[in-house]
């Protein structure tokens, strides 16, 4: 799998907003049929990185390559037109719209002609329901249902099915499992695997190491806007990754401190104020 050419590649990308540097020298490759997990704590620059990949932000310097060719995204719709789809944390972001309508926002199927083109509800519902059922979500069978009535996992699945239907080649999943329960999260992870099986390149953003390890082929840890570690499946343990994300050895330090405290205090954990957590830098 390693030798496959990358669909999307970032080369030494920097991004700053005015005087504030957010991304430093990011180089990444996303390949077809592979899941790249982007790990990082809050504020590590994940959102900025996603938005750069999705065409919302332009890199201040550095290159974005698609299929080996340098590209400049004019805007998010340009990136989408090239097959880069982003699915956000809450999946369908239009909770009060029907499944069929939200599936086709912006690209509504119509019938009729000219100014009398009308929204083809029946076809929209049919296609939307079929697309999401093909991903194994058989509980969805009525395209008129409101998206807000679906479970979190179903919403994510709907959003992913939508992206795939509209020809996405690169799927950017922004914390898809963050707000979900265990069962729902495993649902979404299955769908991620299904997308991977279909040959999509998946960028999976999360701070849940377990979820990342369940589907990831390739991992990049982002700290303060720079890639702190870049490794493949099986090269690092869960603890190592967690420590990396928390900014070095902090997590292990913290655990040692808690253990030490409990030993001397008859097994009671310390109150948070007792712990002096060293700053990440």
């Amino acid at each position: 799998m390693n030798d496959k050419p990358a669909i999307l590649e970032l080369k030494n990308v920097n991004k700053s907003f005015g005087p504030i540097d957010v991304l430093h020298d990011i180089s990444l490759k996303v390949r077809a049929g592979e899941v790249l997990c982007l790990l990082g704590d809050n504020g590590a620059g994940k959102s900025t990185l996603i938005k750069t990949l999705a065409g919302v932000h332009k890199p201040t310097s550095g290159q974005i390559l698609m299929d080996g060719q340098p590209v400049t995204f004019v805007g998010p719709s340009d990136a989408q037109g090239r097959g880069i789809a982003t699915v956000h944390q809450f999946g369908g972001t239009f909770p009060l719209m029907s499944i069929g309508r939200s599936f086709f926002v912006g690209v509504e199927p119509t019938k009729g002609w000219g100014p009398f083109r009308i929204y083809d509800r029946k076809r929209a519902n049919e296609i939307a329901v079929r697309a999401v059922r093909d991903f194994g979500i058989t509980r969805i069978d009525d395209g008129d249902r409101l998206v807000g009535g679906l479970s979190g996992g179903e919403r994510q699945s709907l959003a992913i099915a939508r992206a795939v239907y509209f020809g996405a080649r690169v799927l950017i999943l922004d914390e898809p499992t963050a707000a979900l329960g265990v069962k729902q999260a495993s649902h979404v992870l299955r769908i991620v695997n299904e997308a991977k099986r279909r040959g999509l390149a998946v960028v999976f953003i999360t701070h849940q190491v377990m979820h990342a390890m369940a589907v990831g082929d390739h991992f990049a840890v982002l700290i303060r806007g720079a890639i702190a570690a870049d490794f493949r499946k099986g090269e690092k343990s869960r603890e190592e990754i967690t420590d990396l994300m928390a900014g070095g050895e902090t997590m292990a330090d913290l655990e040692a401190q808690v253990e030490g405290y409990m030993e001397t205090h008859e097994g009671h954990p310390p109150s948070p104020q007792v712990l002096e957590v060293p700053a990440a830098h």
Partner: protein, 350 residues
């Protein structure tokens, strides 16, 4: 657009529609407002006596409903799109006076006055739209600003040009007939224009693909923009629509009453918003329907006028409207929850 999804092993999706009726009904934004309308109709039918039920009684609330209704519809669309427009309260008299000054004071042809008045409405709408899309100031504040601006200019210019705060206009017979006439001696022709607006905006919101964009815009502006909805043009268009509609009401008022007053129109601000909210439109956007807005408008007008047919103190009418508004919001919330939690049981786990 690629369609990589093949339809293998997909069970039949088309299912009998029976058994879904209740769920479908609960899902409609207008369900709550329909019940409300029936309730006030029954109430005033019983307590309003024969006067309320007569043609003249119907005319009294239909006339009110038609004017508010023409404004409530685009306001409703704006609210579904997540915006508010307060400036309609100033556009109505501004349009009335524009028409009255051009066609009445200066004696120019009616069509010129009407065109200028409608153009003024579109211009205020355009200004609102541009300000809302170019800044991050909430539309509530922006339109309050443009309302005061328009009001001040209207007052200042009217006094300067006409020397008073009221200008009269005698429309020519044709204009009178299409904009200011009474059908059967009591029903304003505005009612028919309301029907035209209802049909037009129903088409826009529920049948044309643009309706989908309006819901998406109100649901989540950023996501809507990301999926390619031209959010700015859409917002500006909706503001222009509400400016135009307010100007239209201003014009038809001056044709009906044959005079224009600087301070007419303030009551339309709150009244139109109330009609829309009673009609089941979610204040924060993303949910609502044209039929619901029509029901809300009728409900509001029935209470507003029906009170005069009862032996109750007319001031009680305002209390009823206030209570009705709160009940409407509560029931609409309930219906919305029903709509959200509703899932079909049949074939659900095939």
């Amino acid at each position: 657009m690629a369609h990589p999804v093949t339809s293998t092993s997909t069970p039949a999706i088309d299912r009998p529609q029976s058994g879904l009726a209740l769920g479908r009904l609960a899902r409609r934004p207008e369900s709550g407002s329909f019940l409300g309308m029936i309730a006030v109709l029954l109430f005033f039918g019983v307590f309003g006596g024969s006067g309320f039920m007569s043609a003249a009684g119907a005319a009294s609330w239909l006339n009110i409903a038609s004017e508010i209704g023409i404004i409530a519809l685009p306001i409703g669309l704006l609210m579904i799109a997540g915006e508010l427009d307060i400036s309609v309260g100033a556009v109505i008299p501004a349009a009335s006076l524009t028409a009255a000054i051009i066609s009445g004071h200066y004696g120019l042809p009616d069509w010129l006055g009407i065109t200028a008045a409608l153009g003024l409405g579109l211009a205020v709408g355009l200004l609102n739209g541009l300000l809302v899309t170019r800044t991050s100031i909430p539309s509530l504040i922006i339109t309050i600003g443009t309302m005061f601006g328009t009001m001040g200019l209207t007052l200042g210019l009217t006094v300067k040009i006409a020397g008073s705060t009221g200008v009269s206009l005698v429309p020519d017979p044709f204009t009178k007939e299409i904009l200011g006439d009474y059908l059967g001696g009591m029903f304003q022709v505005t009612i028919l224009w309301w029907v035209v607006f209802v049909v037009g905006l129903f088409w826009l919101l529920h049948i044309s693909p643009i309706g989908n964009w309006i819901y998406a815009l109100g649901g989540d502006k950023e996501s809507a923009r990301n999926v390619g909805v031209p959010t700015k043009r859409l917002s500006i268009g909706l503001f222009m629509l509400s400016g135009f509609s307010a100007a239209f009401v201003g014009v038809s008022e001056v044709m009906v009453y044959q005079s224009a007053q600087v301070l007419a129109g303030q009551s339309f601000i709150f009244n139109s918003i109330m009609c829309v909210v009673i009609g089941g439109v979610l204040l924060t956007g993303g949910f609502g329907s044209v039929v619901g807005i029509v029901f809300g408008t009728l409900t509001f007008s029935i209470v507003n006028q029906g009170i005069y047919f009862t032996s109750l103190d007319p001031n009680v009418g305002s209390v009823i409207i206030g209570v009705l508004l709160l009940i409407a919001v509560l029931t609409n919330d309930t219906f919305r929850q029903l709509a959200l939690s509703y899932s079909s049981k049949k074939g659900g786990r095939s």
